[in-house]
């Protein structure tokens, strides 16, 4: 039995976190959830490989965790909010991760964001009505 297809599978560069993904990434996300506790973070930091094995990650997932390969982790069922808890250990913010998904620098990624939003103040004026600021 194959998992059912969805219209959102057609959105490029996008991994909608549905049952199929959550099912395949369950152990990975479970490990990331454990990082809400400082004691667990210390245990992970002390021996990341062992900690990944303890949580039953696949070999591919474990390697991607150790190497900080976040696009791979996403493709292997990682949820972005849980991956953010792993990114901390690689000194990465969600913006660094965003850049990594594109394979560009964080500064370049931030420039994309600025470009996407550029001219919004003029748009507010066009939009009419009262806007604060």
């Amino acid at each position: 039995m194959a998992w059912r297809q969805h219209d959102y599978d057609e959105i490029p560069g996008t991994y909608v976190f549905d049952g199929k993904r959550s099912h395949s990434g369950y152990a990975l996300n479970r490990m990331a959830f454990s990082f809400n506790s400082e004691a667990n973070r210390q245990e992970f930091a002390a021996d990341m490989d062992a900690y990944c094995r303890k949580y039953g990650l696949s070999d591919e997932q474990r390697e991607a965790v150790l190497n900080g390969e976040f696009l791979k982790l996403l493709q292997m069922g990682g949820n972005i909010y849980y991956l953010a808890k792993i990114a901390v250990f690689h000194g990465m913010t969600v913006q660094d991760a965003g850049a990594a998904f594109h394979g560009i620098t964080t500064d370049e990624f931030k420039q994309i964001l600025l470009n996407n939003a550029s001219g919004f103040e003029e748009r507010l004026k066009q939009e009419g009505g009262f806007w604060h600021g």
Binding site: S22, G98, F101, L113, A117, G133
Partner: protein, 281 residues
């Protein structure tokens, strides 16, 4: 009788929490964003609400993927913030109102919403950032009481903008039928456009954000007609959080007064909108 005196909206991303924690409000990157909250804070100072209903989503603090409720209502006398994995010190507890929560739960379940009742509930940045944005200048003891209403926007399948709007109507009914004199505000949080994940990360769609803000004010039926697929395509996978604004909108009259609106982008990866609405006739 209890009464909903206003509806607020705001983004709730952790970066905003970090900026407040690090007191960056006056930095050039942040100033225009934070300035947008000042009129709302003045209004709140004037009307002094007794309680805030905060519609937000949990991002992996209280709920893990083992058990994901579509709608979860806090039914406790206080709510705890906690470490989300970044080592940021937890905020002080926020006071709840269990009696009112159970009254809301009874109303919603009678109205055929299949909510999850939570007598213990940790509240993450999705809840704390909005509370801090609106009340951080006051000592915690002077904050209004709050009731968290968590909507699943993380684990698909998700509920819809329409269902959120209808839940807001039930929330309104609950507040209107509560016999205690209380002034209540409803806060829709999250959004606007952002996508954190994948090769499409970095979406900000100013046009869509402004259209959402306009339609939420003037034509909520436009918003309730949108599919989640459409919203994600336009506003990004995390932009879907905007459906939570519709709970707030459903709790107000068909026609509303706009006391304040504000938009800024980008804030971190996000288009950030603020609304302050009250019932018109």
């Amino acid at each position: 009788m209890a009464k909903i005196i206003g509806g607020l909206t705001t983004s709730h991303i952790p970066a905003i929490g970090n900026a407040m924690y690090s007191k960056l409000e006056q930095e050039p990157y942040w100033k225009r964003f934070f300035d947008g909250y000042e009129p709302v804070k003045e209004w709140l100072d004037e009307v002094q609400p007794d309680l805030a209903i905060v519609v937000y989503n949990d991002h992996g603090l209280n709920f893990f993927l083992n058990q994901v409720p579509t709608f979860a209502l806090g039914c406790a006398d206080s709510y705890q913030n906690d470490d989300e994995g970044w080592g940021i010190p937890a905020s002080a507890d926020v006071k709840g109102d269990a009696e009112l929560s159970w009254h809301i739960a009874e109303t919603m379940i009678r109205d055929e919403f299949d909510i999850t009742t939570c007598q213990e509930m940790k509240v993450d940045h999705g809840f704390m950032v909005p509370m801090n944005l609106f009340w951080r200048d006051k000592p915690t003891t002077n904050w209004p009481k709050a009731i968290p209403l968590a909507v699943n926007t993380v684990q698909h399948p998700l509920t819809s903008a329409k269902r959120c709007y209808d839940l807001g109507k039930s929330l309104r009914k609950a507040i209107d039928s509560y016999p205690e004199d209380m002034k209540v505000v409803v806060i829709g949080t999250g959004g606007l456009s952002h996508q954190l994940q994948g090769e499409r990360a970095g979406i900000i769609d100013v046009d869509f954000d402004l259209e959402c803000m306009d339609k939420i004010i003037n034509e909520p039926s436009w918003m309730t007609g949108l599919s989640n697929d459409y919203i994600m395509e336009k506003a990004g996978t995390e932009g879907i959080e905007v459906i939570m604004w519709m709970v707030m909108r459903g709790a107000l009259n068909d026609k509303v007064n706009v006391l304040h609106k504000h938009y800024h982008a980008p804030i971190s990866n996000t288009g950030a909108g603020v609304l302050l609405l009250t019932d018109a006739e």
